[in-house]
């Protein structure tokens, strides 16, 4: 029988069951309404046992499923090699890719739900050597709530994150992480800035990333300001200075930031002998980016 990919009839988990479990657990939360007070302790103990048994069964089922996937990939690859028509080298890279993804998925799973502290550390080791930008988000989650904590594990986690960032070779790899980091309600603002710094420091795409952040109007102005500031410091040039002008808009930028941007822009223009012309200043005035207060500060700054 010839089997195509369309013929693979796999059983799927019934989502209705998950709904039942979820509803049952909600019912359990209201147990005081329907369980005799003198039987509550025994009831709770039994339910905890049932829950534990359920979780173990699910974990085992997950592991069995993993083994099935894994065996499938190994046997599939081998059959191709055994029966290849001499074009093995052409197809080998695809088989290696299957193998690599298989391993990566297992590593990620184990990292998120480690069976032991040892295995958690092993996955961190692997991540320090082999993680890629796709692992960043998982690593970030692990970092926020690590299954096991120690100084060594924190060091390994940092190494793994640095490794991912250093391997990022296009901005699409990093943008999901940046978005997640900037929108994460669990992080305080200083933590966000720290994380942002860490991401920026570690990647060779730093300048491109900063430019993208600077232009991203959905991003909070504080981060745009931070990005532009870094950009100007990191790659001082006429091009990067122009990003400062993005902060001139009173609709989008707080006043103190606008003042800073004006001062910095003016300073850089003077320092390179390219003073702002009267026309340019008039244009800015016409654009409404210089309100009265700012113009005053601007004039004060020019007098300094």
């Amino acid at each position: 029988m010839i089997m195509s990919s369309m013929d693979l009839d796999l059983p799927t988990h019934d989502p209705d069951f998950l709904l039942i479990i979820s509803s049952a657990l909600k019912l359990y939360d209201d147990r005081e309404e329907f369980i005799l007070p003198n039987k509550r302790a025994v009831f709770e103990m039994h339910i905890e046992e049932i829950k534990e048994e359920y979780v173990i069964s699910w974990s085992l089922a997950g592991y069995e499923a993993f083994l099935a996937h894994s065996r499938f990939v190994d046997k599939f690859n081998k059959e191709i090699r055994l029966n290849s028509n001499g074009n093995w080298e052409k197809v080998r890279s695809r088989c290696l890719a299957f193998n690599s993804v298989k391993q990566r998925l297992q590593r990620r799973r184990e990292l998120q739900h480690p069976s032991t502290e040892e295995s958690f550390e092993r996955e961190l080791w692997w991540m320090t050597e082999n993680s890629s930008p796709e692992d960043l988000d998982d690593l970030r989650h692990v970092r926020l709530a690590p299954a096991f904590i120690s100084e060594e594990k924190s060091r390994l986690l940092s190494m793994a994150v640095q490794r991912c960032l250093s391997r990022a070779d296009n901005l699409d790899d990093l943008n999901p992480l940046l978005a997640a980091c900037l929108n994460d309600a669990n992080l305080s603002e200083p933590e966000k800035v720290d994380l942002l710094n860490e991401i920026l420091h570690a990647t060779e795409l730093q300048t491109a990333l900063l430019m993208e952040l600077a232009e991203n109007r959905e991003c909070h102005s504080v981060y745009r300001w931070h990005a532009i500031w870094r950009l100007v410091e990191l790659a001082p040039s006429q091009t990067t200075w122009e990003f400062l002008r993005l902060l001139f808009d009173p609709q989008e930028t707080d006043e103190d930031v606008r003042v800073w941007a004006y001062k910095k822009y003016r300073y850089l223009r003077i320092a390179t002998g390219c003073r702002m012309t009267k026309t340019e200043m008039a244009d800015e005035k016409q654009r409404g980016s210089m309100d009265r207060n700012l113009r005053l500060q601007w004039l004060m700054a020019m007098r300094d």
């Binding site: 190994d74 690859n77 081998k78 090699r81 290696l96 040892e118 550390e121 092993r122 080791w125 060594e152």
Partner: protein
Amino acid sequence: MIILVDDERRQMESYLDELKLANYKIEFRKDVGAAINFLKENLADIELLILDIMMPPGTLFGSSETNGGLRTGLHLYELIRENSPKLPILILTNVSDPGVHKHFLNESFCWYLRKEDCLPFELTDEVKRIFDEMKSDESEGATPS
């Protein structure tokens, strides 16, 4: 006999299965201490050692010298080499650092493979190739590398 030293049994299962299928007698040891003991007792019978690099340092090595376990295999390799300079050793590792690969480049009786580049059944091919190379070098009196 082949001895495979790797701390991740589950990851190595398919490699072990393939070697067994090819009728190689294979022993597995998952930590440095057990590997050393086995080597001491069975050195004469060992034809090839397959060695991982990232492993817990155990009690034999310090955590700092192995970079917290990230380079344990390097130290185990050096230790084994002190007593067995001609034992064939195949490094089979996830380490991607080219510095580590470079470390083994000029070593005799030593081969290097990244797990990522080696499908389980290909390890058997590689082992066969090493044994063939050893045999042919033995007959020519050269040093294999």
